[in-house]
């Protein structure tokens, strides 16, 4: 059956929905700017200039996009398994702490040995911090949304303690100011950079991992089972899948990617950990914004790449907008919320068209219960 012209059109609309959502968010953002008595056109021009205006600006955008993409990859895995991981912030922090501790302890190792080990430490740290809520959900029926949020707060306090106490930079420990930060990593451990910009090897690692996550989710048994459990845990149980194990795995993997993002942030960008008392002071809220990027990329690892670049650009652009126009950069937090609002509300049109398509298609093609909002999933979420 050849798709009619009308159907092509509706598919095109489906593909463009995120673009419309972004435009709608920018429009509401413009209203907020007017409310702040700022010319929105000038503000958005400053935003564009700051994000894409020069090769250095573009590099900064990619630097910001890297942790977003890594977190988003983890979110693709967990949300596909119908496990909601909001603990990216905490998982990044723990991954970074573990990797930084290695880097500061074994300073005589060669770089080629330390970097992979430190990245692995990041993965493990994040996996532990994601795995705990996973175990609690699988074996104690504890809502993972809440437990991951709580784990964020616990991780922040742990970081604040370590960076003021045991892990403080020895030179800061002697000063009266006692800035809560670790010592700098030795030069051999730093990820390669594309000088003169700050763009580092981590960006490439993230893109390669995006392809690997795609393969994991759609070309391996593990990925198939995670998705099966996410779509219908009851049917999966009847099919002999150990549902609890895959719930834990989904959160564990998701946390691992966030932990890696934290480690890369230290080894590629800052070369040390520093805290202002909040998680976002270290992560730049990548643990939350990565969720937005993943949802925007329709929980697809490859589509998450452009989505992360878009949100990276918004973050970098917001900073230059703040400098140029004195607009608080928190505006971007509101805009992120708006983008999700519009993306999630446009779902109904997609679903409606899908239903119409299924009704028109021959019987064999229709598969019941393909929506993500199955009653089972809601039951688990409660």
């Amino acid at each position: 059956m050849k798709p009619s012209q009308k159907e092509w059109l509706s598919r095109l609309v489906d593909a463009l929905l995120p673009v419309f959502a972004t435009l709608a968010a920018l429009f509401v953002g413009a209203i907020m700017l007017l409310f702040l008595k700022v010319n929105p056109i000038q503000a958005y021009a400053a935003l564009w200039e700051g994000a894409f205006g020069s090769s250095n600006a573009l590099a900064e955008t990619l630097v910001k996009a890297t942790p977003l993409l890594l977190v988003a990859l983890g979110i693709c895995i967990s949300f596909r398994g119908d496990v909601i991981n909001i603990g990216g912030e905490g998982q990044m922090v723990i991954g970074a702490i573990l990797a930084t501790w290695l880097g500061l302890t074994f300073t005589d190792w060669p770089g080629w040995a330390m970097i992979p080990v430190a990245m692995l430490a990041g993965l493990i740290g994040g996996a532990i911090w994601g795995g705990i809520p996973g175990l609690l959900k699988a074996y104690f029926n504890v809502n993972e949304i809440l437990s991951t949020v709580m784990m964020n707060a616990i991780a922040v306090q742990l970081m604040n303690f370590l960076l003021r106490g045991p892990m403080i930079d020895p030179s800061q420990a002697q000063l009266a100011s006692k800035i809560p930060q670790t010592a700098r990593l030795v030069e051999a451990f730093r990820l390669a950079r594309w000088v003169p910009t700050r763009l580092h090897l981590g960006a490439l690692i993230a893109v390669v991992l995006a392809v690997l996550v795609y393969i994991l989710l759609w070309r391996t048994t593990l990925g198939y089972r995670i998705r099966a459990v996410g779509q219908n845990p009851h049917a999966s149980r009847y099919a002999g899948i150990n549902v609890k194990r895959y719930i834990v795995l989904a959160l564990l993997l998701s946390g691992a990617f966030a932990g890696l993002a934290g480690a890369i942030q230290v080894f590629g960008v800052n070369y040390r950990m520093i805290t202002d008392g909040s998680a976002s002071g270290f992560t730049g809220s990548a643990g939350f914004n990565g969720i937005v990027a993943a949802l925007f990329g329709q929980l697809h690892p490859i589509w998450s790449i452009p989505a992360s670049v878009l949100f990276g650009a918004l973050l970098v652009g917001a900073n230059s907008m703040q400098r140029a126009m004195q607009v608080p950069s928190a505006l971007i937090t509101a805009m992120n919320g708006l983008v999700v609002v519009f993306v999630v509300s446009s779902e109904i049109w997609r679903r409606r068209r899908q239903r119409r398509r299924l009704a028109a298609a021959p019987e064999t093609e229709s598969s019941p219960g393909s929506g993500s909002a199955s009653p089972e999933s809601a039951e688990e979420a409660a």
């Binding site: 937090t333 999700v340 999630v344």
Partner: protein, 322 residues
Amino acid sequence: MDPLIILQAGVASGTVLLFATIGELLTERSGVLNLGVEGMMLIGAMTGFSVTVATGNPWLGLLLAMLVAGLLSQVHALITITLQADQVVSGLALTFLGTGISLVLGEGLSKAGTVALLPSFSIPLLSQIPILGPIFFTKQSILVYIGYLLVPATWYFINRTRPGLHLRAVGEYPAAADALGINVHGMRYLYVFVGGVLAGLAGATISLAVAPGWFSELTTAGQGWIAVGLVIFAQWDPVRAAVGSYAFGALRRLILDIQGPTLLFGFANPFYYNPYWGFFLQMLPYAFTVIVLVIGSREAIRKRLGAPAALGTPYIRGERGL
């Protein structure tokens, strides 16, 4: 470290959680999960404080805080009830939205200084009761007393009145409620709004009574999320919600006060001599929330109690389902 003072302040700080928890409880009873409590609380705290700074009238600030947070909640209502989108994702978006807007509009508000606060007073007679009097009825904000009244009122409303019965029907079995002529969507819009109003009240309780001022995200410091957790612990029952809220309030207060004295039960206070250990104390409310969730969830399985059956699912007339 006077226990009476800690408990008295704990009741005040627990009132914040109480309002937010009761609001979310009512929203969830109607079958809608709103994870945006944190965002609505922040916008309530910001609105209440900034209106009071501008007008000098804390009552007007309180009123507008409730109204603005209620309006924000209607974004969630529109997305999840009419557009039938995912409630979890929409709730997260609401948190981002509320946080972002409050931070943008609250910029510079932290330097606003002190404002007129809502009145505090002691209840005549009741404050004379030993132990209970000083804790519950002495020099508390008027909002604390409103909190006392809200708990039995909510319990009575849910369990003993006709609109309360309709509320439960909409949350447990919307199709049956619809067949009885109850406007399912209308009810859900209403209770999402009520939840928003109470979250706004919770936020304003912080910024106008318990910890006056605007400290950006630290104003709420994750209490909106704790409130969502307390609803599960409370098994959707307002009395249990009150117990949980006041206990958490007291815990928060204890953590603040325990770091002050040099002696603790006759021993050198480790939190005084090692100030960095305080960070472990600050983990406690969040660690406790996880523990409380474990207890609440286990009990729910054992007693076969649980969430409102339709929680998290949109109601579409004529479609098979709940």
